[in-house]
């Protein structure tokens, strides 16, 4: 968008320069045939006609032509697709697969990573683990999963029901 805007501005100043050159060249010719400079410049400007109207017209034309070109491109694209149904099917299929896969992966990522969990203060959520030395007197054995700690011992997020009830009490 910025690039386009820049191009329009460039085109505008080009048009101004182009008109200025025409006026200068015209005046130069009159001066060469003996007219005083100020009079020559005035006559050239008068002879040129309405420069603002001209600029307006050229600008409008640029817009209209780019619209026409867009139409041509669309029609050309449509005709190409109509002429090669196999290519068209493959193109549509690969686009559909690509868009579908992206959407699916994004919705999963969105649910897992981006959206907050539906609780009152999601920022205060924490994971509780217990930790115990290996062969400690407190934990002899348990059901569920536990992991070896790097420093020796084990850790697990599984709690016995009585322990959970104690922790969940407000």
């Amino acid at each position: 968008m910025q690039w386009r805007f820049w191009r329009w501005k460039q085109r505008d100043s080009d048009l101004n320069d182009e008109i200025a050159f025409d006026l200068a060249a015209d005046a130069e010719e009159r001066i060469r045939s003996g007219m005083p400079r100020t009079e020559a410049e005035q006559t050239s400007r008068r002879d040129f006609g309405n420069a603002t109207l001209l600029k307006e017209e050229v600008r409008e034309m640029w817009g209209w032509v780019s619209l026409q070109r867009l139409g041509q491109d669309l029609r050309y694209g449509w005709c190409t697709l109509r002429k090669n149904p196999l290519f068209a099917t493959m193109a549509v299929l690969s686009l559909a697969l690509g868009i579908g896969a992206n959407t699916a992966i994004f919705s999963v990522m969105d649910a897992i990573m981006l959206r907050a969990l539906p609780v009152k203060n999601p920022g205060e959520l924490a994971i509780l683990n217990w930790r115990a030395k290996r062969d400690s007197a407190v934990v002899q054995s348990h059901n569920g999963s536990s992991y070896d700690e790097p420093g020796g011992g084990e850790t697990s997020p599984d709690f016995p029901w009585p322990a959970y009830e104690l922790l969940a009490r407000p």
Binding site: D14, D17, I19, F21, A25, N50, E57, W62, V65, S66
Partner: protein
């Protein structure tokens, strides 16, 4: 010389208008002789028509820009003999082709109208 001046004056007063669509052809034809800026194109058409055709800037520049947007001509800023940069227009390959088709269409049109208008 004086008779030409009266004709020009007469035309200016009564207003000779180009047929629709012929300006593009005239511009392409003029650029066939090499790159030229807008003012030069106007002058060349005026001179080669023996001063009979005076192209208004209000039609010339929109036509040049239209032809450029359609890819018939391309432009380049170059220094001119006037010690000042000017936008020079040049025929493209598409423009040359367009000129050839318009020229043959024009010849056909002139012949056809000439036949209809010829004195009985």
């Amino acid at each position: 010389m004086s008779s030409r001046r009266t004709v020009t004056k007469h035309l200016q007063e009564n207003g000779i208008e180009l047929l629709q669509g012929t300006l593009d052809m005239l511009i392409l034809r003029t650029l066939q002789w090499g790159p030229q800026h807008g003012h030069g194109v106007g002058q060349a058409i005026r001179q080669s028509s023996a001063e009979l055709l005076r192209i208004e800037r209000g039609s010339l520049y929109p036509a040049l820009h239209r032809l450029e947007a359609r890819g018939m001509i391309s432009s380049e800023w170059k220094s001119s003999d006037l010690n000042r940069r000017a936008k020079y227009y040049k025929l493209t390959a598409a423009g040359k082709k367009q000129l050839a088709t318009e020229q043959s269409k024009w010849k056909l049109l002139v012949r056809a109208i000439g036949r209809v208008m010829r004195p009985a």
